[in-house]
Amino acid sequence: MAAEKMALAKAINESLRRALESDPKVLIMGEDVGKLGGVFRVTDGLQKDFGESRVIDTPLAESGIVGTAIGLALRGYRPVVEIQFDGFVFPAYDQIVTQLAKMHARSLGKVKLPVVVRIPYGGGIGAVEHHSESPEALFAHVAGLKIVSPSNASDAYWMMQQAIQSDDPVIFFEPKRRYWDKDEVATEAIPGPLHRARVVREGTDLTLAAYGPMVKLCREVADAAAEEGRDLEVLDLRSVSPIDFDSLQSSVEKTRRLVVVHEAPVFFGSGAEIAARITERCFYHLEAPVLRVGGYHAPYPPARLEEEYLPGLDRVLDAVDRALAY
């Protein structure tokens, strides 16, 4: 199959289909993932083609979903579970943090838990409470988990393949506001490493680092800045644990300025970790402090206010201006 243009949600669907076809141990589990195909239709048609024993509609109990997925993984299965929305993951947080993340170490390496937890995350879709959050830092803090977030359909396809193949538990954050964005997906291409960042726009004046839904915004920011004669580099981190600090370092050593953008609150967010580590690694290269643009230390606001809360073009440009003013 040559490259095909498809939406990000469809790319994940195709990737799941491929995994179900190639490995009989792969299972899909979650609320409404079967007949309905998921509330975002990411699993559309999979139960019809692979049956109820492999594409499993679960009771509405997130801890139960992850807890039983752990048991299935112990039995040799590779479950891919869906948490319907970001704000609903917390009943499963205990199982993810105390069991899924730690069982490999607890068993001195004898037990492997190849479980993928898919979480549609982030805002910008005008939803009600608990449907727009970005909790990735709450997971990145936990050793034993790997955290990734694709920004485009091609990455979504390949990163899902790699996440399912990983013998470690992977939390797969899907940028729900980009589900319908289309991109070329080359399903026969050989992908790069799962946790490697990618320069999506080369530049010399400042690095914008982002992942998931904010990569598209950062490209738009770079385009806008270019009109003002500023040449920004955009780095798609793709992975939040581990973070590809080597690629970040290379970029910042060249541009000497870094702005990190994420939807999650800035306070204790992934930008804080990036700022600290890049300051250590690039202290003598930096012309400005590492700046962060993200959500505020407040509950995610009602939908009518979310555009104020979320990083937008102007807020990121403002941070770029401040960084360049040093």
């Binding site: 009771p59 139960g64 807890g67 048991g71 199982q95 068993s107 001195l108 581990p242």
Partner: protein, 392 residues
């Protein structure tokens, strides 16, 4: 004896509790006087008939009965040794199973080699039945690892400290067994305290919905650290199963034969594709919650004394002696074996080395992680800096 045949009861707390000097003496039902309780051996060691469960122990030989006795004695000896080792500072903590030997040996011996066990952190007797070397159980309590055995070596998962979590793992594993078309069964252990956890309720829901071949074996030892079962439930725990659509049964947890029979029944149901079962083994935690606990602060000595009369080992001994199934030579030999086990455990613990400091970074991930590699290298450089300073 299952819930289907049992009328609803009033909350047990209405049976009357009185408080004396800050301690609670409960009017708990005692084993032997409860018509809902499956019992095959009375505390006096008399074999009583039970139409429903006799057949599950009908063919048991005197040798097998002696085996059960031996299992319980050696488990208790091991447990006592571990408690002593904690007192001597060799272990950081110990969670004693004292009093629960029958529940664990009876249920453990009901399992088949291909069955899979998901324990809490107190299932030393079940571990024994599964063939896990008892010294391996002590690594986590000494602080040299967080689980020192291969779970797949004996189909005995690592101890789970977060209360109730493992019931979901057991359910998922059982769902996998069913998918594989195997006739193995899974057994999940938990306690009266854990019965309040959402994960336990969710495991009941999932196992019922998917008809998973899993037995939930609840050792109701009456105490969740300082909280009596009245703080966990208004109905007898086994009756909870009814609301989820599968049978629940209460068994005398100090009666090894009854525990063996009821667990066999439940495991066979699972193998036949009849889904989950809840077994409530009604027993008593004779010791403290752990070596860090002080039960004198919250429970009366009389309660413990009342349960001492129902000791699981004593009652089987009475039965063996009355039936002439064991002679003095057997008991003497077992005493020798018991002492040897104590010695072996003692020596193994004292010889247990501290792990290499770099073990911190081992097995965090199966496929590696750049940050772990970086921090390991930093740690190594830091350690090496001392060698440089010493001119080594």
């Amino acid at each position: 004896m299952t819930v289907e045949s049992t009328a609803a009861r009033k909350p047990r707390r209405s049976a009357g509790t009185k408080s004396t000097a800050g301690k609670t003496t409960t009017a708990r039902k005692t084993a032997g006087s409860d018509p809902e309780l499956v019992q095959l051996l009375t505390p006096e060691g008399k074999r009583v008939k039970n139409a429903g469960y006799d057949k599950y122990v009908a063919g048991i030989t005197p040798e097998e009965l002696r085996g059960l006795y031996r299992d319980m004695v050696l488990t208790r000896r091991f447990d006592a040794e571990a408690t002593s080792l904690q007192r001597q500072g060799e272990l950081g903590l110990w969670a004693s199973l004292l009093g629960q030997e029958a529940a664990q040996i009876g249920s453990g011996r009901a399992t088949r080699e291909d069955d899979y066990v998901f324990p809490t952190y107190r299932e030393h007797g079940v571990a024994w039945c599964r063939g896990v070397d008892p010294t391996n159980l002590l690594g986590m309590f000494r602080g040299v690892n967080n689980g020192g055995w291969d779970p797949n070596g004996n189909n005995f998962q690592l101890y789970t400290i977060v209360i109730g979590s493992q019931t979901l793992h057991a359910t998922g594993y059982a769902m996998g067994v069913a998918k594989d078309g195997a006739d193995s069964a899974v057994i999940a252990y938990f306690g009266d305290g854990a019965s309040s956890q959402g994960d336990v309720a969710e495991s009941f829901t999932f196992s019922a919905v998917y008809n998973a071949p899993v037995v939930f074996f609840c050792q109701n030892n009456q105490w969740a650290i300082s909280e009596p079962t009245e703080k966990q439930t208004r109905v007898p725990l086994y009756q909870r199963a009814q609301g989820f659509g599968f049978p629940g049964v209460r068994v005398d947890g100090n009666d090894v034969l009854a525990c063996l029979a009821v667990t066999k029944w439940a495991l066979e149901r699972a193998r036949r594709g009849e889904g989950p079962t809840l077994v409530e083994a009604y027993t008593y935690r004779m010791g403290a919650h752990t070596t860090s606990d002080d039960p004198s602060k919250y429970r009366a000595d009389e309660e413990r004394e009342a349960w001492e009369a129902k000791d699981p080992i004593l009652r089987l001994r009475r039965y063996l002696e009355a039936a002439n199934h064991a002679d003095e030579g057997f008991f003497a030999e077992l005493e020798t074996e018991s002492e040897a086990l104590g010695k072996r455990v003692r020596e193994a613990v004292r010889a247990m080395p501290d792990p290499d400091r770099f073990a911190i970074f081992e097995n965090v991930y199966a496929d590696g992680h750049a940050l772990v590699d970086e921090e390991r290298a930093q740690f190594a450089a830091y350690q090496a800096s001392f060698a440089d300073a010493e001119g080594v």
